[in-house]
Symmetry: C2
Subunit: 324 residues, 2 copies
DNA sequence: TTGAAAGCGGTACCAA
DNA sequence: TTGGTACCGCTTTCAA
């Protein structure tokens, strides 16, 4: 038994011949070591968890793919947890992760804080914060440069001639939403046309975008550019603008944030700030796995760059094919 | 120890007082039973696996949510496996599932067959086939009525006055694609205008839809209706039709299949055959869990009904707001 | 280089 | 109704 164990764990002190015999026997018997037993005996389960708010929001599957692909490469499995951004579901999952002896966690969350992660720290389970860091001191973090992205978006709208630019901001509890808003404010506050009523808060989804546009258009008859805090809101915004009879981009230009592929589906296609979604997931997974392997111990912050993707929704004056 | 175990497992033979003492102690010590140890000792891990082809295709997160919600309700966790529809990834996952002592499996796959699932049967791990059954005899199956849906789609296109209806069919290796094609053929073959060149095969994705439309329009100058085998293809088809200068629905009407929410995002919105996606996932999970609990033993087939959702892409002659 | 034996943290049977 | 104890399948000393 002990020798078989040594073979499985590639322990050096095994005679080559014995090793071969064991390997052959394992194949003949279709033997597969039980992860449970190994885990119980103190070994890693080779499983990491990924906690995301909602798998139905196309941004997250992108991240998940990045995480999963890297994990697979290093022979790790991914346990996916949908939290619905609900604190109680997150807590419940954190317990489950410990019960199931998960090796590490990548988490995207607005609700979780140090205290909640304390039990994981005690159990020596490393954590990587993805996309929405609540703390950049004690945890490794992977995120993109939200503020810069917002600045790029607004400057692009200005460059194409927009004279009054509104912002649909995500909920304040999202770090990402706050940073993007700050980026927007940083630029527009220099202009005389700027008033706080140009910022409309909404949920990070399609419906949120629709509602915000309705309010914005009602309150500010002369806006000619909108920077939406994420692509789903931009999608909703576009839909609603068309419904209100606005021409996009000639009446109102529109720029989103994220770079999800849906933005290429609409008519016109939506200009957006593209985050390296897949790469963010991959980077988070790589960091976590290296920590698990003991290859890195310090915490580190990885801020990935975003990119402006110019599409029809900000190409004023261009003739586009008719949609209907 | 034994008594604590009894309390955890709600064994009846425990004195109420003792039980209380144990519960209090567990709380004070923040005691959480190890799933691994329980699993090793022969208990269920309360975890089921869901194998899907690709989490990035919006159809699957919908299913996954259904599965997950029901699982959560019954205190089960879901281990998500992305197979990319690749046989080798599926095989590798099937092994992992056994190593990790997963209790049951819900699988959506074109590649897996009886033989591959044999080890699971041996290990007494129940399996439910979802969406794409390869066998309806020996496994419980949850799927929707694809053939009927296709018939509804074509009849709807006929009803609005289409005189020549093409079909973009998914890859033949998908049962779902075959059934929908059969539904289409069943109706159209009665008409004198029908020729096999009205069927174009393509991948079940946006790009597939685009390519198919290009070919269809080139080969059949007079088609005025298209039934796409799934919504992603319909999305691509719409995009390409607009690019080719076709008016949808007036020149060519379009109907998809699945009912994913993206079809509401386009201009015009796309008519589709809606599958009860979430319910399919939920039904599969429920069936599996009941099997695990021993509440059902026989295999059963659940065929859920689909529904025609009429939208702009088949509302000929209606004025729609301009998109650009 | 190998085998024997003591855990890992539970469950379940048996006797008390 | 409770406690003692032999596993579950593997890892890891310790001796041989």
């Amino acid at each position: 038994m002990a020798t078989v164990s040594r073979v499985i764990n590639k322990n050096e002190y095994v005679n080559k011949e014995t090793e071969q015999k064991v390997i052959v026997a394992m194949q003949e018997l279709h033997y597969e070591p039980s992860s449970l037993a190994r885990g119980l005996a103190g070994k890693k389960m080779n499983t990491i968890a990924l906690m995301i708010p909602d798998i139905s929001n196309p941004f997250f599957p992108g991240l998940a793919r990045g995480v999963e692909d890297v994990a697979q490469q290093y022979d790790f499995n991914v346990f996916l947890c949908n939290s619905d951004d609900l604190a109680y579901k997150e807590k419940s999952y954190l317990e489950i992760l410990r019960k199931k002896s998960i090796d590490g966690l990548i988490i995207i969350s607005n609700n979780v804080n140090e205290e909640e992660l304390e039990p994981l720290r005690m159990a020596n389970i490393p954590v990587v914060l993805l996309d929405r860091p609540f703390n950049e001191q004690n945890y490794s973090v992977v995120r993109s440069n939200n503020r810069n992205g917002a600045i790029m978006a607004v400057e692009h709208l200005l460059a194409i001639g927009c004279k009054k630019i509104a912002h649909i901001a995500g909920p304040e509890k999202f770090v990402t939403a706050r940073e993007r808003r700050l980026g927007y404010e940083g630029i527009v506050s220099q202009y005389s046309w700027y008033t706080p009523s140009l910022i409309e808060h909404a949920n990070f989804d399609i419906e949120g975008g629709k509602q915000a546009v309705t309010k914005l258009v009602a309150n500010n008859t002369d806006i000619d550019g909108i920077f939406a805090g994420n692509d789903l809101m931009a999608l909703g915004a576009l839909k609603q603008l068309i419904k209100l009879g606005k021409n996009v981009p000639d009446d109102i230009a529109l720029c989103g944030f994220d770079g999800i592929s849906l933005t290429e589906l609409t008519q016109p296609e939506i200009t957006t700030i593209q985050q390296p979604i897949y790469e963010m997931g991959a980077a988070a997974a790589l960091t976590l796995i290296k920590k698990l392997k003991g290859e890195i111990t310090e915490t580190k912050i990885q801020e990935l760059d975003v990119k402006l993707i110019i599409r029809g929704s900000t190409e004023k004056g261009k003739k586009l094919p008719l949609a209907t």
